[in-house]
Amino acid sequence: MRLQFILGEVINGLRRNSTMALSVVLVTFVSLTFVGSAALIQTQIGQLQDDWYGKVEVSIFLCPTDSVSEQCAQGEATPAQEDAILAVLETGAVADLVEKVTYESKEEAYDNFVARADSSLTQYLTADQMQASFRVKLVDPSQFETVADATQGLSGVESVKDQREIFDNLFAFLNAATIVAAGLAAVMLLTAVLLITTTVRLSALSRKRETTIMKMVGSSRTLIQLPFMLEGAVAATTGAILATLALWFGVQYLVQDWLSSSVGWVDYVTGDDVLAIAPWLVVIAFGLAASASLMTLGRYTRA
C-alpha cells in the first residue's frame, strides 16, 4: 500500500511538473556526459601510458665524428668510453633500474634510418654521419631522471633523451581537455543542483494541501518527503542513463569504428570502459538529487 502510494505520488508529481522534470533530465544528461568524457579521457591517458611507456627507451647518444657539442670536444666516442658507459648501466649505481641495454652502432643507425626514410633524403648520407647510441630499457620508465643523471656527464656521451618526451605534448593536450570537460561538468552540475532544488520546491508547493493533511493525520516524515525526493532522483537518474547511452554510442561509433580505422595503432577506450564508469554517473546523479531535495524539503515539509 505504502509503496503503491509513493509510486503513485511520484508518477503524479512527474506528470504535473513534466516540463521541469524534463529540464532536470536534460541538464543532468549534459553535465554527466561531460563528467563521463573527462573520466574516459583519463582512462585513455592511463591506457596509453601503460601501453607506450612499456615500449619506450632511453637513448644515450654517443659523440659523433664532428659534433658541435661541448661534451664532445675530444671527438668521436672511443671504444673505451663506450665500455665505461656500458659498465655504469650494467653494473654501476643504476644497474637495478635497467632492464636491458642494446648498442646501436653507426652502421645500424644508418640502416635503420634508410629503411624508414625515403631515398631522396638518404642518397647523400653516409654511415659515418650517423651517431652510435645505447638504447636502454628501464624497469620503471618514470625513473628516467636517475639514469640520465648517472650517464649525462660521462665522457663520450653527447646527450641523453627520454622517448617519453614525444608523448608529453599529447598527454598535456589530453589533460587540458580533461580539465575543460571537468570544468564544464562542474558548472553544469551546479546548474543541475539548482534546477533540482527549484523543481522539488515547486512540486512541494503545488502539493502543499496534501502534505498539510498528511502531517495533520500523522503520516511519517519519510512518507511525506520520499515522493519528492524520488521525483528528483528519477529525473536525475534518467539523465545519467541517457549520458551513459550517449557516451557508449560515442565510443562505439566515433572511437571504435571511425577513429580506430583511421588511426589504428592506438589502443582506444571501449564500450566496456563506459559501462565501468556508468554506475558512478548514476551514483553522482542520485546523490545530487538527494542532497538537493534534502536541502529544500527541510524547509517546505517540516512537521
Binding site: K215, G218, S219
Partner: protein, 230 residues
C-alpha cells in the same frame, strides 16, 4: 487525556505571552468548548496539543505522552491519536469524498482491505452514505465539513480537536454538525472544540473553558458562552 500544567507560551522575546499559567485537565470522553475572543490564545492552545508549537514554560501531556520530551520523529504517532477538524474543511479538491477519507488511512500505511472496510462505515456514521463519488465542490458546506470530520475520525483517534468547525456554516447546518460531534463524543472520544458560536455553546451545556488575553478565566461544567449574559 489532555493535561496542561502551568503552561505558558511566548512567541517572540518581549512580546505579550499568548498563553500564561494555564492549568487544565481534560478526562477521556469529555466534551469541552474552548471559548474566547480572537487573540485570546485559543489557537495556541490547540497548537500546543497538536505539538505544532512547544510551550515556553510548563508541561503538556496528551494521550499519555509528555509532549515537551517528544522527539520530532515521534510526532506523527501523536497526531494519529488526534483527529483535527478546521473551519475551512481542508479537503483535497481533486479527490472524491471516498478518496478524501481513504487518503487519511493510506498515508499512515493502512492496507487496502482495512480501508475498504472502514471508509464506508465512517461515511455512514457522518451521514454521507451514497455520496462517496461526489467531488467536494459538489457538496454543501455542511456536507464538506462532514467529510472533514469523517477523515479526522476514520482512524478512530481518542481525541478530536475542532477549530471553529461551524464558523463557515449557517445555524441550521451547524446544529447537524454538533449532533454529529455529540454522537462521536458518546463513543468515548474526547472532543475539544474552539468556537465563537454562543448559541451552540448555550444549547449544548457542556464544559466550557474560557481564555482571555492568554489567561484561563473560566473552567465551568455545563457552562454557557458568556458569563455576563447568563
Amino acid at each position: 487525556m489532555i493535561r496542561l500544567e502551568n503552561v505558558s507560551k511566548v512567541y517572540s522575546r518581549g512580546a505579550r505571552p499568548a498563553l500564561e499559567g494555564i492549568d487544565v485537565e481534560i478526562e477521556r470522553g469529555d466534551f469541552v468548548f474552548l471559548v474566547g475572543s480572537s487573540g485570546s490564545g485559543k489557537s495556541t492552545f490547540l497548537k500546543l496539543i497538536l505539538r505544532e508549537e512547544r510551550p515556553t514554560g510548563g508541561d503538556v501531556y496528551v494521550a499519555g505522552r509528555h509532549l515537551n520530551r517528544l522527539t520530532s520523529w515521534r510526532v506523527p504517532h501523536l497526531r494519529r491519536e488526534i483527529g483535527a477538524v478546521f473551519q475551512d474543511f481542508r479537503l483535497l479538491p481533486n479527490k472524491t469524498v471516498y478518496q478524501n477519507v481513504a487518503f487519511a488511512l493510506q498515508v499512515i500505511g493502512k492496507g487496502r482491505r482495512d480501508i475498504e472496510a472502514t471508509v464506508p462505515e465512517m461515511l455512514e456514521l457522518v451521514g454521507l452514505a451514497g455520496k462517496e463519488r461526489r467531488m467536494p465542490h459538489e457538496l454543501s458546506g455542511g456536507e464538506q465539513q462532514r467529510v472533514a470530520i469523517a477523515r479526522a475520525f476514520v482512524n478512530r483517534p481518542p481525541i478530536l480537536l475542532c477549530d471553529e468547525p461551524t464558523g463557515n456554516l449557517d445555524p441550521g447546518t451547524s446544529v447537524g454538525i454538533m449532533r454529529l460531534l455529540d454522537r462521536i463524543n458518546r463513543t468515548g472520544t474526547t472532543v475539544m472544540m474552539a468556537t465563537h458560536d454562543d448559541e451552540i455553546v448555550d444549547q449544548m451545556r457542556k464544559r466550557v473553558i474560557e481564555l482571555k488575553g492568554g489567561h484561563l478565566v473560566r473552567d465551568q461544567d455545563r457552562g454557557v458562552y458568556g458569563l455576563e449574559r447568563a
